[in-house]
């Protein structure tokens, strides 16, 4: 039992921290707006092998643990990396779980990162996956189309409807293009649930990194900004608002790591439950931390010149592609208490 990173894990984290510090200053984020995609950054990331990390070694990937992926995503979240990374990793991990995914003609290209994939976290309707995160730039979309889990290669639109997070969202038609069926029926549903949990886990990590960085920005700004002859960080009202964010941020960091660790240990059901929790809690703290940090900037906080508004918008935009969080709470309740009408089971959690 240890809540701190091992030396190896620190090495992984530090490597990605350095990569993003070098390659993704905030100017990259700004330049990538409004599409929210930085192909040059992606090209650099390919050199690190990150695009293939989620795929086992035996299939040519990096064979990363879920925890490694979480460390990667936390660093990506801290710098708001404008890449469909959570989506690509969740999609490729899913493909590698099925024979037909592994056999897909572009599988190796996805592992290499030459081709980009996106996991659609919501089931498609009438053959169209709506507002898929990463969907504007992904060559391949993995989605649940009625009772089939499919991977479809078609032309990425390379444009997104203007949106809150400047994220590369797009509707994707699953019935045109090169379609590979990964699974049917109950198996498709189970694999889809697993993919969604992976996406939630990775998004939770990104949101946790985003929130931690937003708090740092808030602390830095309030220490520097003076009003009434003192730094505004000296006002108790400001201090208490910032202090309130520490527990939730530390908490989601642990909870996300625990969800990942549990997946690595092979307890899939428990890991999915924890991923859902980590996702919900991370979305909330990212929302609250960015609100507070922006608010304590005063009028500057809402100007485009300051970075905090970039964090504010992504804190909301990243998780909301899954839809209303209250619906996710209800799905979590199904995991915890059994479906509506079910007989009693022990309360997990």
């Amino acid at each position: 039992m240890d809540l701190e990173l091992t030396t190896d894990e620190k090495t992984v984290r530090d490597a990605f921290a350095r990569f993003f510090a070098d390659r993704c200053p905030v100017s990259v984020v700004r330049d990538a707006e409004p599409l929210g995609h930085a192909p040059a950054l992606w090209a650099r990331l390919r050199e690190t092998g990150a695009p293939g990390m989620a795929v086992p070694d035996k299939h040519g990937g990096g064979g990363a643990t879920a925890l490694d992926l979480v460390l990667l995503m936390q660093e990506a979240g801290r710098v708001l990396a404008p890449l469909p990374l959570a989506e690509h990793l969740a999609a490729t991990r899913t493909l590698a779980r099925t024979p037909s995914g592994l056999a897909a003609p572009w599988f190796a290209s996805l592992v290499d990162g030459d081709t980009v994939a996106a996991a659609a976290p919501r089931p498609a309707r009438d053959g169209v996956a709506r507002l898929v995160p990463g969907g504007a730039v992904a060559d391949v979309v993995v989605a649940l189309d009625d009772d089939q889990l499919v991977a479809v290669r078609s032309d990425a639109p390379m444009e997104a409807p203007p949106n809150h997070a400047s994220a590369p969202l797009a509707d994707r038609d699953l019935r045109t293009g090169e379609r590979v069926v990964l699974a049917d029926g109950a198996e498709a549903a189970a694999l889809f649930a697993r993919m969604v949990a992976d996406w939630q886990l990775l998004t939770a990590a990104a949101l946790g990194g985003l929130a931690a960085r937003a708090l740092e920005i808030g602390v830095e700004y309030t220490l520097e900004r003076r009003q009434f002859d003192r730094p505004i960080a000296a006002f108790q009202a400001v201090q208490q608002g910032l202090a309130d964010l520490v527990g939730p941020i530390d908490g989601v960091t642990f909870l996300t790591a625990r969800a990942a660790w549990t997946q690595d240990e092979g307890d899939q059901a428990e890991s999915e439950r924890l991923a859902s929790m980590a996702f919900l809690a991370s979305a909330e703290v990212a929302r609250d931390a960015t609100y507070a940090a922006l608010h304590y900037h005063g009028g500057y906080g809402v100007t485009l010149e300051y970075d905090i508004q970039l964090f504010f918008r992504r804190a909301r935009g990243w998780p909301l592609v899954l839809g209303d969080p209250e619906d996710e709470y209800l799905r979590l309740a199904d995991r915890l208490f059994g479906p509506v009408g079910a007989a009693g089971t022990e309360v997990a959690g």
């Binding site: 009003q227 009028g299 906080g301 809402v302 100007t303």
Partner: protein
């Protein structure tokens, strides 16, 4: 207590609604959102032509003029209709200040331009170094040595932040420091500065919510003394007058009403993934009902300062109480609407297409600033704690 609307006020409300129906075009609203400039010269001048600015606000210092309650209703209706009214608010505010403490020169030369809608003003209070702490203004105005008997001239140097509409304004009302050796609140002087003087420059500042504001630079601006408002080193007294006008009357605190109305309307047609209507989801219904309760309270609290003014009394902390509640409630509402809307709530208004979708995204971007501008929530709470609850000053 009496909640019956005043007939005169309701009559005025009806006339404003007619005016809006007749003169506000979808294109004006769209242009305001597209440019971030919430002022439209056509609309403004047509409205000014009704005499509403010239009539001014009745009050203790002014027997004639419009009932403050009518002015509250004016801004409420303009807000509900999405009309660009920032220029109107600034013009009425500065006209009010001039009437109360302006010189004959100001009243003769400048006031008619505001009344007719020919000119609007920008507010030069905040600076890069002074936001909440307005009295820390550092923009310097120094008296230029001159021949005895000549009109004094001030040399102005400094920067003003958040000078919204300065790019459309004929004048900027400017809080300056004239004596740095006096205590903070005592060394300030207010001026009305014509924007066409040499040495004034500004730069646009874009915001997350789409509003355009500006930073304005004053570099060796030679400002004749006739542009001074109030006494030398009496600038804080002018600020107090300005703030009294601003709080509670010249604003629109009921943004939650429009948001709820539009959301509920949309939710009647929007489908959830299972094909049911959004409006029929219990979680959505509960959250919308909660917003409706907040809106009801906001409406009553926001009315109070205007009502007090309408009764010839001086609102004190009532504006702070209303503003704090309204902005926090609007933030809660925007957050709830964004969550309820799910993916749809992420889509931004597409500028220029004339469509009106994107109101949820817009509210989510816009709400945070309401808890900041015109005094942050922390400043309002300080004010309430000290002046309403009688707690000791804690800074």
């Amino acid at each position: 207590m009496d909640f019956a609307p005043k007939p005169s006020v309701e009559e005025f409300r009806a006339s404003i609604r007619r005016f809006i129906a007749d003169h506000l075009t979808a294109e004006m609203v769209e242009r305001a959102h597209r440019t971030g400039t919430f002022h439209d010269w056509d609309f403004h001048r047509t409205l000014a032509a009704t005499g509403v600015i010239a009539e001014g606000m009745a009050g203790p210092g002014r027997a004639t003029g419009r009932d403050p309650l009518e002015l509250y209703v004016l801004f409420d209706e303009l807000g509900l209709a999405g009309a660009p009214f920032y220029g109107l608010a600034n013009a009425m505010l500065v006209a009010g200040i001039i009437e109360q403490i302006g010189s004959d020169f100001h009243i003769r030369e400048v006031l008619p331009k505001f009344h007719s809608g020919e000119a609007i003003a920008a507010l030069g209070y905040s600076e890069p170094g002074s936001g909440s702490d307005v009295a820390a203004a550092a923009t310097r105005a120094e008296r230029v040595p001159g021949h005895p008997g000549d009109e004094a001239v001030w040399l102005v140097n400094g920067q003003k932040m958040f000078t919204t509409l300065v790019h459309e304004a004929g004048y900027v009302i400017l809080l300056t420091r004239t004596d740095p050796d006096l205590p903070k609140h005592r060394g300030l002087t207010m001026f009305l500065v014509p924007m066409d003087l040499p040495g004034i420059d500004f730069q646009a500042i874009e915001t997350m919510g789409g509003d355009r504001t500006n930073i304005t630079y004053f570099t060796d601006v030679h400002l004749p003394d006739r542009w001074r408002l109030g006494e030398v080193n009496g600038g804080w007294d002018v600020m107090k007058v300005a703030l009294a006008y601003e709080r509670g009357v010249f604003g629109n605190m009921n943004q939650g009403v429009t948001l709820l109305r539009r959301f509920a309307e949309w939710a009647r047609t929007a489908e959830r993934s299972d094909g049911t209507r959004l409006i029929d989801d219990p979680g959505v219904r509960r959250r919308l009902a909660r917003i409706a309760v907040d809106n009801e309270i906001t409406g009553l609290l926001a009315l109070r300062p205007a009502l007090l003014a309408s009764q010839g009394r001086l609102p004190t902390t009532e504006g702070s109480v209303a503003k704090l509640f309204a902005s926090e409630a609007y933030n809660r509402a925007a957050e709830a609407c964004q969550e309820m809307a799910g993916t749809a709530g992420l889509l931004s208004p597409v500028r220029g297409d004339g469509g009106d979708w994107g109101f949820v995204d817009l509210a989510a971007r816009d709400a945070p600033v309401t808890a900041i501008y015109g005094g942050t929530s922390e400043i309002q709470r300080n004010n309430i704690a000290e002046h309403r609850l009688g707690l000791p000053r804690a800074r």
